[in-house]
């Protein structure tokens, strides 16, 4: 079953869509399970000012994209990259064993978002 956080974000996801001219596009695809997330980021002075995404996958992976988009928005990249894996995993609430691969999705979203920005920052 789905925890309350996952159920809320899956049933009513935040920030769905695309940005007209994203500063960065993060694409995550899991070859094994087929989950795909395409996330657009708007950046200003090392800060994420807007996030939009499209997601195809299981309920928890869709919820993960929504939770990530909400969490990333307004964060400085340095701050985001400094967050611990445990802290990011906790955002998804308690997951069943077969849902835990979505923690990897969350961590990969963060890593890619921050990597792209570090590139921008030179």
């Amino acid at each position: 079953m789905y925890n309350e956080i996952v159920a809320r974000h899956f049933m009513d996801p935040m920030n769905v869509g695309e940005l007209a001219s994203p500063d960065e596009t993060v694409r995550i695809g899991n070859a094994v399970c087929g989950d795909t997330i395409i996330m657009h980021l708007a950046l200003e002075d090392g800060r994420i000012t807007d996030v939009k995404y499209r997601a195809y996958g299981c309920a928890v992976s869709i919820a993960t994209a929504s939770i990530a988009s909400e969490y990333f928005t307004g964060k400085e990249l340095k701050e985001l990259s400094g967050r611990s894996n445990a802290e990011l995993a906790a955002l998804l609430g308690e997951l069943e064993p077969n849902q835990k691969h979505c923690i990897d999705i969350m961590l990969e979203l963060r890593e890619r978002a921050c990597a792209s920005v570090q590139g921008v920052n030179g």
Binding site: V16, C33, G34
Partner: protein
């Protein structure tokens, strides 16, 4: 729990009210059916009555019905027990299909692994049906057994069991059918079917879980499953599951051919309605298995909706409406292993399998209830497609 939003009857059915009562009544009968005193006689009467009811349901003599713990045991026993008793020397050959239940597939794998048998897995066409010509071509001089399911649990396809059984009989080969999904839904007459053995399970048609039966045609040798005190005609020892058998017996007794035929007519009508309405409301949806006629179980609808995960669709209607359907692929870390082998066998790709859901309804299904489900599915599809990567970004 209410069964109001339950559309997963091929997984299991709710207990019929009369069945529940029969089981409750049987709890007062505590004697051992093997005892000769009145306590034992009362328990024995429940077991005998159950055997008679099951025999009536499938058209055989009561002695041909052996009770088991359910479909998986019946399948295991039939395949191993018939093969072992058939007196083959050396490595036997058996024929099955690629869309059988795991309780058949895994027994075949076991027999191959242990060198007891070579197994031919017959392919199926896009509708999930086996070709009798291909079956005939697969027969070898050392073929001892053909095991083929009567109706498929995922897509509902009904196999040509009568033709297969005739062919088997003419070649001196034993024929077993896994009728777990068909029994209690389709009228079955084992004499007309011509099979040597048939598996069934109570909980698929209003009975309790943990009890089932194996029909074995009189005269056909079957190796005992459990050696001991000699219950079940010396073939499956152990004190009988009297409460379970009270339930199985009642579940069989409340059904008759006329009732099942009327139910099939109603289900066929509902299936046509669901297929037509979903085709109208959900663009790019596709149905797996035969949609019309007598080629499939009419209570079973397998639908793929492009661009959406079946798991998400099921989750959405589950969370929002409490509706229960089944999915073609379970979400897990080892997803490759969990994709439906049945959908793969009819040629669906990994992506298509991931987008499949199965709706299977029960005896109480009506038009209003199905219309509600159709709207819930269409709404979920609309919601999930709006999020989806497919066709966007």
């Amino acid at each position: 729990m209410s069964s109001e939003a339950y559309y997963d009857y091929n997984a299991t059915s709710e207990l019929d009210k009369q069945v529940r009562q029969a089981m409750i009544d049987s709890l007062n009968v505590f004697g051992n059916p093997s005892s000769r005193h009145s306590y034992g006689t009362a328990a024995k009467a429940i077991v005998s009555e159950a055997r008679e009811s099951v025999a009536r349901l499938i058209g055989c003599e009561p002695e041909a019905v052996k009770f088991t713990s359910g479909g998986s045991e019946s399948n295991n026993w039939a395949i191993k027990g018939l093969l072992e008793a058939s007196g083959h020397r050396g490595r036997a050959h058996l024929i099955t299909t690629v869309i059988e239940h795991p309780s058949v597939m895994q027994v075949c794998a076991y027999l191959e692994r242990t060198g007891q048998a070579a197994v031919t897995y017959l392919p199926v066409d896009q509708a999930g049906a086996v070709s009798i010509a291909e079956l005939e071509a697969a027969i070898r001089p050392e073929t001892r057994l053909i095991t083929m399911m009567l109706a498929n649990n995922e897509i509902g396809t009904i196999q040509p069991i009568r033709e297969a059984a005739l062919l088997a009989r003419s070649r001196g080969i034993l024929m077993h059918t896994d009728a777990v999904q068909a029994a209690g839904k389709l009228p079955i007459d084992v004499r007309q079917l011509g099979v040597d053995a048939l598996s069934m399970s109570a909980h698929k048609f209003g009975g309790p879980k943990g009890v089932g039966a194996l029909y074995v045609r009189p005269g056909v040798e079957l190796e005992p499953l459990i050696h001991g005190g000699g219950q079940e005609f010396g073939l499956r020892s152990g004190t009988e599951n009297v409460v379970g058998l009270a339930g199985l017996g009642k579940a069989a007794a409340v059904l008759d051919r006329a009732k099942m035929e009327a139910q099939l007519v109603q289900w066929s009508k509902l299936k046509r309605m669901v297929v037509n309405r979903l085709t109208e409301l959900v663009p790019d949806c596709r149905f797996n298995g035969p949609v019309d006629g007598s080629e499939a179980l009419p209570n079973t609808i397998n639908i793929e909706i492009t661009g959406i995960r079946g798991e998400s669709l099921a989750a959405y209607i589950g969370v929002k409406h409490g509706a229960a359907v089944s999915v073609g692929s379970a979400c897990s870390a080892t997803k490759q292993a969990s994709l439906s082998h049945v959908l793969r066998a009819i040629g669906r790709s990994d992506e298509q399998i991931r987008s499949a859901v199965r709706i299977s309804f029960g005896p109480a299904a009506g038009e209003a209830e199905m219309e509600k489900l159709i709207c819930q599915l269409a709404e979920a599809a609309l919601h999930l497609r709006a999020l989806s990567v497919v066709g966007a970004v």
